[in-house]
Structures are given as structure tokens and as C-alpha cells.
Symmetry: C2
DNA sequence: TGAATTATTGACCAAATGGTCATAAACTAG
DNA sequence: CTAGTTTATGACCATTTGGTCAATAATTCA
């Protein structure tokens, strides 16, 4: 019994996420968010709270979409080796294309925000765990010992995040390929 | 034949580096730099150019001191396994102490700046290479094949950077320990 | 001593920042 | 149609931002 929203909230949050993803939190201004969303400042503040709330919402959206897409791969068809290879291939491919400079929003948030922002840290922490668990489960048909699977999963997450740092730092794609290959070598 | 500097340039650049290290580039304001250095704004601008120049100088200083300290370990005494273990132990230890929140300035710079800042990217790139080469050389007594050593070194750098992302993201220290252990497992 | 040169100081600046709010518009239940 | 409720609009705000500059203070060379 009131005026309805004139915008698609999901679309707006996608556009907000893309800005934070590409530029980071501090380098993103409200002007950027206004421009990307197509809304006016007042509406943006009305729908979400403030810039920080928007960032956390964007992070959650990233988890629900992009991270989930990775987890879907890990839960899907194929050998453990094949699935894990695909994670790294995504990094290599997007590095080679070189169009989108954002890298991985989860990694970006971890390094830029988590140390000083408890809310972001909590979000990053649970997403990391989600990713690790999915890798563990992909590994489980091959590794009976659960602790062993957990340790290897932790390790693969590390290598994956590291490849994200390398990719943005301009390291040659071969280094990421080497990282992937050594990871796969440890997957039975 | 003119008025001499009244401050120790090396000390000032150390303090500038510490601010950027802890807060990142965008979140650091000139006020912060003024406060940390003890100089006044005019002097800071007079001695170094602008904020960006200060950041690059800080990054170079980080390379010359902190990264070099890591490389010194890799060039020093002990088995390859021991030396590489020590790199990771530094991460684990500083995570456990939890006092300084900066993590690794090289990683921070790579994710925050390298994608959009060519100067930072170049600096990050060469520092990554330096680190990789040092690891290769630490490995060389044990791995005859040079390509093989290079690939393993690339991989270790990746895992190391990844552990830095995990550490800031609040992942349990055990994950970093697992990462280290699996790395060492690959070192002959 | 004095001319020349560089460093220090802090007031100053335009622009950008994140955020607010009164008003107008759009809708629904009665 | 109307009362009530939510949304949209954009002008507005204090504060902070990175950066400049004219005046003053040290210093050295001649």
C-alpha cells in the first residue's frame, strides 16, 4: 500500500558489486555507485544503508553468484583433478583476456578490508570455509582420511588465492600454470 | 651551499611505508602521512613529490628491506626445506601475535593498485621475480633441472601469497600450517 | 658580511567526499 | 476520491581530500 520500487534490486546490486570488484572499497566513490546503478543518490541510500552496507551486500552477492559458480563446478561432474584444474584455468583465461581487472573480489576484500573491518572479515572467513569444504568434498572420493583431505583443500585454496595475487601483479601466465600443475600433482 | 634537511630521509620513508603498509593507498590520507612522519605537509611534498610518488617509494623501500630480509634467509644457511619453512612461519607467527595488521605490502599493492597503476605493477612484477629467483636458487642444490626448479619456485610464491590472503581473511592458522606443510612436501 | 640557495612553515585552496532532507510523485486500501 | 504510506528527486551540507605557495629561516660560498 505504497509506492513500489522503480528498479530491480538484484540488477542494482550487481552493478554496485561490479564497481567495488573493479576498484575496491576506498577507491569507489558514491558518484561511481550512482553512475553505475543508474539510481540517484537518495534512492541508493534509501534502499541500502550507506556505502559500507552496500559493500557488504556486494560481497554477499559475490558469494552467492561467483563463488557459488566455483562451488557448482566442484560439486559437478568430472574427476577431482579436472574440477580443480578448471578453477585455475578461469584465472589463467581471465588474465590472458585482460579485459576485466577486478580479479577475485573475495581476495580483494580480504587484503583491503578484513584486517580493519570485522563485518567484512566475518564474511570473508565464512566464504573461505565454504570454498574449502567444497574442495574437500570434491577430494573425498580419492582421499579417505578426512584430515588429509582438509589439509590438501586448505592448501589448494591458498594456491588459488596466491595465483590471484600473481595475476594482478603482472606475473607471467606461466607462473599461474606452474601453480596449477603442482596443485594437480598433489591431487590423487 | 644551502639549508640542509632537518630530518633523516630514511626514517621518514620508513614511517610513510608503515602507514601505507597498514592502511593501503586509498585509505591513507596526507594527514596520516604528516602525522606519522612528523614533518609538515610542505616538507613532505618538497622532499618526495606527491602521495603517489611516496607510495612507490614506500614500495621500493619494502623491497629493499622486508623482501630482502626474506631473500637473505633464502640465500643463507640451512636446507631448502628449512628456509622455505621459515618464510611461512613468519606468516603464521605474525598472524598469531596479531599486533600488526598490514600483512605483506607486496600482496596488498598487487591487489589494490597493480591492475590500474602501471608504475606499481612494474614494481610488483620485478619484486615477484626477485623472490622467485631467490627461491629457485635455494632449490637448485636439490633440483638439477632448471625448468623444474622454476616451476616449483613459482608455485611456492603462489602458496606464500595465498597464505597472506588467508591470514588477513581470518582463516584459522591451521590452514596456513597445512599450506606450508604441503609446500615442504614438494621440496626434495 | 652578504648574496645565493635550499628547507621549513602553516595558512590557504578548489574539488571531492559521504551523507541528509524537504518536497514531489506514485501507489494502495478503504 | 481520499487518506496514508512509501519512493524518487536533486539541491544542499559540513568535512576531508590532495595539493600549493608566499614568507621566513638556515645554511654555504665568496
Amino acid at each position: 500500500m505504497a509506492r513500489p520500487r522503480q528498479f530491480d534490486e538484484a540488477r542494482v546490486i550487481e552493478s554496485l558489486m561490479n564497481v567495488f570488484w573493479e576498484k575496491g572499497y576506498e577507491a569507489t566513490s558514491m558518484r561511481d555507485l550512482v553512475a553505475a546503478s543508474g539510481l540517484l543518490k537518495g534512492s541508493l541510500y534509501g534502499a541500502f544503508g550507506d556505502k559500507h552496507t552496500m559493500y557488504v551486500a556486494a560481497l554477499k552477492h559475490y558469494d552467492r553468484t561467483r563463488i557459488q559458480a566455483g562451488i557448482d563446478i566442484l560439486n559437478g561432474e568430472g574427476s577431482a583433478r579436472q574440477k580443480i584444474a578448471r578453477l585455475f584455468d578461469n584465472v589463467i583465461e581471465s588474465t590472458k583476456r585482460g579485459l576485466f581487472a577486478g580479479g577475485c573480489l573475495l581476495c580483494n576484500a580480504s587484503l583491503e578490508m578484513a584486517a580493519t573491518d570485522p563485518e567484512v572479515k566475518a564474511e570473508v572467513k565464512t566464504t573461505i570455509r565454504r570454498l574449502k569444504v567444497a574442495i574437500m568434498e570434491a577430494l573425498s572420493p580419492r582421499i579417505a582420511n578426512e584430515d588429509q583431505a582438509a589439509a590438501l583443500a586448505a592448501f589448494i585454496v591458498s594456491a588459488y588465492f596466491g595465483s590471484r595475487v600473481l595475476a594482478k601483479g603482472g606475473a607471467p601466465a606461466a607462473m599461474i600454470g606452474d601453480t596449477r600443475d603442482h596443485c594437480l600433482q598433489l591431487v590423487p
